[in-house]
């Protein structure tokens, strides 16, 4: 068994691409190995800013031989054809075999292939994997036309203790496979020869490179916690930042710096944004949970007192400059009242065909006022908050730190004397931002958040920018999920279709038809299903209930789904499902038979039932039961009593079964036959008003 060690040493790869690259490399290489029958016991990838490393262990030294059978020309074919075949397969005629097939007698050969040494096979596999690496962004360098994420400097390729023979042609220059690597760019740049992963890992460790990403993360986290703790503080953990920082260092050294007291009066979000975004530093809390005047630096050098002090001083200096800029913005922004900033929104495009941000604000403020009473908010307050909600986008602070949108709006609103719940609504109207972000619960915040999102959704649907496959450039799926989570989380009774229609009227783009409303509603239902996938809610029930009449009240939809689920779990539920299918089967069968003399089957079915043509007791009973249940369901549904509405259809089970036992639908009397089909169709329609049972699977 042999070990393959592969390392691609390049100039610094972007942190955000490293994980993906290591997975892609592993996938490419291992699938190629599998394809030629080289089975291995383990494959591990490692990635640092400068290197992409793959170790495959337990590879055989030789490829297992493959037996391949090939059919040649027909026996008795021309000499030319036979000779051609023999040349091609490298055999003589007495090594071939005659065999009968259904098409006649043919020459056959059996070739034993492969059995090549792994060392001979690997170079091509490695080279083709390199060329197939799917970088999201790649580049050329020098006079070469080869592309990699950044200039590639060497390829270490060692199998079974020996360098593999291989060369990557970059176009102008070439890279020969090597058994050399280098350590840390500054601390140990000299060449090191390695013959195994074990050696490689140890050499790197001695050369200030920690190969394992998780290990670097652990060091950063532990050291940062320790540094905070020993200074009497607590690290503000930030997993996203940790992932990024870990991709910027090969030898993490954690240091702690100070923030000047004069900056501590700014909103903590501003300080954190300045540390995090530009400096990739972690914020630190005091024991009481408020922001401390310290920050955590992750550098890429070994610890040395003078150097550590230089690095800390340098980082403090940069942060000071950033914070004094921020402070300048903080003061300058507050000199202009939020409400006076609305005019400036006319200069900011929302989206090409959907007008400026001022247009958007005008629309969604009206919508927020519409929604307000449905969620227990005052419409005037909602309107007022919405009008201010985007004004912070014109401030200097947001130009510098776009991620603080809303949050700064809140501070500026409070500074301008707005009420707390108005200010909070400004901050929260973007929420929830990610799938794990908290949903707003305050009435005004809810009204704003839903209004803003619905406006965005309807707008992009009208202009045809609808997500397809993996393409969702405007994050409409996330926006839709936000609407769903707010509605369900707050148990809100909101009918969505009228809101869509209102936005359409406000946008007033020619050709914005009502059909986009239904498309959007279907889109939301699809998001709802995917959102609830992890919970034990059956997707077919959601589809079934939604299909019973485009239910646009999500909370009502889900409670109907619950009730339906409970009902289907009972004996009556199971029986009813069977009844429904019997009804449906005969309706479909008769459609295929296309009963004579009728041109439009559905038109025939929609006719009224003629009670004078009901002759058998069982059909009269079913008819009576339908009338009775139908009037009950109407009353129950109008008062949202889904339990009673659903349970009441149980009263149809016996009449339906009795009908099928006693009544022949397919009679030669066409009038009776049509009337019975109408009766069954009415039964189906009544059941459909509870749920489209045809879409529901067995429990």
């Amino acid at each position: 068994m042999g070990e393959l060690l592969l390392e691609f040493l390049s100039e610094e790869m972007p942190a955000r691409m490293q994980m993906r690259a290591s997975h892609d490399l592993k996938l490419l290489l291992t699938s190629k190995l599998n394809a030629i029958g080289l089975i291995f016991s383990s494959a591990n990838v490692y990635v640092t800013p400068r290197r992409l490393t793959l170790v495959i262990d337990g590879l055989p030294r030789r490829q297992p031989s493959i037996i391949e059978e090939r059919r040649g020309p027909r026996v008795g074919a021309s000499e030319k054809a036979i000779n051609g075949f023999l040349t091609f397969s490298g055999l003589t005629l007495d090594q071939c075999e005659r065999r009968y097939t259904s098409n006649g007698e043919f020459w056959f050969v059996t070739i034993e292939k492969g059995g090549k040494t792994t060392a001979d096979l690997l170079p091509d596999i490695i080279l083709s994997s390199i060329c197939e690496m799917p970088w999201s962004k790649s580049m050329r360098w020098g006079e070469n036309n080869f592309r990699w994420v950044r200039p590639l400097h060497h390829i270490l390729a060692v199998f079974d203790g020996r360098v593999l023979k291989g060369t990557l042609d970059l176009g102008k220059t070439k890279l020969n496979f090597t058994d050399c690597t280098r350590g840390h760019r500054f601390l140990a740049p000299h060449v090191r020869v390695v013959n195994s992963f074990q050696e490689y890992r140890t050499e790197l460790r001695n050369s200030f490179v920690i190969l394992e990403r998780e290990c670097r993360k652990d060091i950063i986290l532990k050291d940062a916690r320790y540094l905070c703790d020993s200074n009497g503080f607590i690290l503000r953990e930030d997993s996203e930042l940790l992932e990024e920082v870990c991709g910027l260092v090969e030898w993490p050294l954690v240091l702690i710096g100070r923030i000047d007291a004069e900056f501590m009066s700014m909103p903590p979000e501003v300080l954190i944004a300045a540390m995090r975004r530009h400096q990739k530093c972690f914020a630190v809390n005091k024991k009481n949970g408020t922001l401390a005047d310290r920050f955590i630096i992750v550098s890429n050098m070994s610890s040395e007192i003078t150097r550590n002090a230089t690095i800390v001083a340098g980082n403090e200096r940069v942060l000071r400059a950033r914070l004094s800029d921020a402070q300048f913005f903080w003061e300058k922004d507050r000199a202009i009242n939020l409400s006076d900033r609305r005019k400036a929104l006319r200069e900011v495009q929302f989206y090409n065909k959907l007008g400026t941000l001022a247009d958007k604000v005008e629309r969604f403020a009206i919508l927020a006022a519409t929604i307000a009473p449905m969620v227990g908010a005052n419409p005037d307050n909602a309107y007022h908050a919405a009008v201010l909600a985007k004004a912070d986008l014109t401030t200097n602070m947001i130009t510098e730190f776009p991620e603080l949108q809303g949050i700064m709006g809140r501070y500026y609103a409070l500074d301008g004397g707005e009420d707390l719940h108005i200010a909070d609504a400004i901050a929260e109207h973007y929420c929830p931002i990610g799938p794990r972000d908290v949903c707003p619960t305050a009435p005004i915040s809810i009204a704003l958040s839903i209004a803003d999102k619905v406006d965005t959704l309807v707008g992009f649907f009208i202009i045809g920018e609808i997500p397809t496959g993996s393409k969702d450039p405007f994050a409409l799926r996330r926006t839709a999920l936000g609407v769903i989570r707010i509605i369900i989380g707050n148990n809100l009774r909101i009918k969505l279709l009228p809101l869509f229609a209102q936005v359409r009227d406000l946008i007033a783009i020619a050709g914005s038809a009502a059909e986009t409303d239904n498309k959007l509603l279907q889109f939301l239902i699809d998001r709802l299903k995917s959102h609830l996938r992890k919970k034990i809610i059956r997707q077919d029930l959601i589809t079934g209930v939604f299909d019973s009449g485009e239910e646009d009240d999500l909370v009502r939809l889900l409670s109907r789904v619950d009730v339906l689920g409970d009902f289907l779990a009972t004996d009556d539920g199971a029986k009813l499902l069977i009844c429904y299918r019997r009804v449906l089967n005969i309706l479909r069968a008769e459609e295929k038979n296309c009963i004579p003399c009728c041109t439009d089957y559905h038109f025939v079915l929609s006719k009224l039932i003629n009670s004078s043509r009901l002759v058998k007791t069982e059909e009269i009973n079913l008819y009576e039961a339908l009338r009775d249940v139908s009037s009950k369901i109407k009353i129950y549904l109008s008062s949202d009593d889904f339990v009673s509405a659903t349970v009441s259809v149980s009263a149809l089970i016996d009449p339906i079964n009795a009908f099928f036992d006693a009544v022949m639908v397919k009679t030669d009397d066409m009038l009776l036959r049509t009337n019975r089909l109408c009766l069954l169709n009415a039964t189906k329609k009544l059941l459909d008003s509870v749920a489209n049972f045809s879409l529901i699977k067995n429990c």
């Binding site: 100039e11 740049p189 003078t306 150097r307 230089t310 200096r317 495009q349």
Partner: protein
């Protein structure tokens, strides 16, 4: 390799800093360093540009005609909207970039660059130097490249870009552009908190030495006023149209270089119009696309007519 060795051999203590860290000293040191690496030392291009990249020394030369073009120059860069009337310690509407263009990009470019840092007193062994992803794109001239911003102890000191496309044309060979933020580096080396306090030439004021502020503070004040208040909008709009027309006419007679100068003048007029805050979003977009057309046409003409 030699470079690497030098870097390692210099010990930590001696790095603070016997080199001349005054502003002109840094420029002189960088110039002679890159000259010793085979670069031609050019003088600033005599036009108003927003960045060193835009001069023909970089934009056009990275396309054609030379197979090898290694050049360095200091380029004054004008960004009218960045004016702060000389009140901000870190922002100017006129500042300097030290520009290096290496075509084709050499395989040991990072070592060469790090070597240059050592010469100006930023020994990589005494600091924390990092290459952090920062891809460059200039849609106005249809150009993009991949690279990094280089950090020294958390501060961005240079932009490092491998050009992939200029004027919408694929580059071949690939040029490497390194752009040093001179003021920032000088502030760090001199430990100054304001650009205006930078020591320009290392001579005490009583002996006639000058600071950055002595030379440029008044200019910042006056040009900020000009950029934001007094630049005549009608004249600028007319100038833009005139330059655009001149550029197109010059291209008709295959004079790519003068045409490109007119394109640069149009860009600067646009930057001033922008600073005056009188153009709407849509107009802005349309100006940018008009400039892009000019820049692309100049690049194409230059490519087609240089051998």
């Amino acid at each position: 390799m030699n470079q690497e060795k030098n870097m390692l051999d210099s010990d930590l203590g001696s790095t603070v800093d016997r080199v001349n860290n005054h502003f002109q000293g840094i420029i002189l040191t960088l110039q002679s360093y890159w000259a010793s690496k085979g670069c031609i030392v050019l003088q600033p291009y005599d036009m108003e540009v927003g960045a060193g990249t835009l001069t023909p020394f970089t934009t056009l030369r990275s396309l054609a005609p030379d197979e090898v073009w290694r050049a360095v120059y200091v380029q004054p860069s004008r960004r009218p909207t960045d004016g702060r009337y000389g009140e901000s310690p870190n922002r100017l509407q006129h500042y300097y970039q030290f520009q290096v263009l290496l075509k084709p990009s050499p395989v040991d470019s990072q070592d060469l660059y790090l070597g240059s840092l050592s010469t100006i007193g930023l020994n990589p062994m005494a600091h924390d130097i990092r290459f952090v992803e920062d891809d460059w794109e200039n849609p106005t001239i249809g150009a993009w490249g991949l690279g990094w911003e280089v950090w020294c102890d958390g501060m961005e000191i240079s932009q490092y870009t491998y050009f992939q496309q200029i004027g919408g044309i694929d580059c071949m060979p690939i040029s490497l552009e390194i752009s040093y933020g001179l003021e920032r580096i000088a502030m760090y080396l001199q430990g100054k908190d304001s650009i205006f306090n930078l020591d320009w030439n290392g001579i005490p004021p009583e002996e006639g030495g000058k600071t950055y502020g002595d030379i440029y503070k008044q200019a910042e004040l006056e040009f900020s006023a000009y950029n934001f208040k007094y630049a005549d909008i009608d004249h600028l709009l007319r100038r833009f149209v005139d330059c655009e027309l001149d550029c197109l006419n010059l291209l008709k007679v295959d004079l790519a270089l003068p045409a490109y100068d007119q394109c640069l003048k149009a860009v600067h007029a646009f930057n001033l119009i922008d600073a005056r805050g009188v153009i709407s979003v849509n107009e802005r977009q349309s100006y940018i696309s008009r400039i892009r057309k000019l820049a692309r046409a100049c690049c194409e003409n230059w490519m087609n007519n240089s051998t």
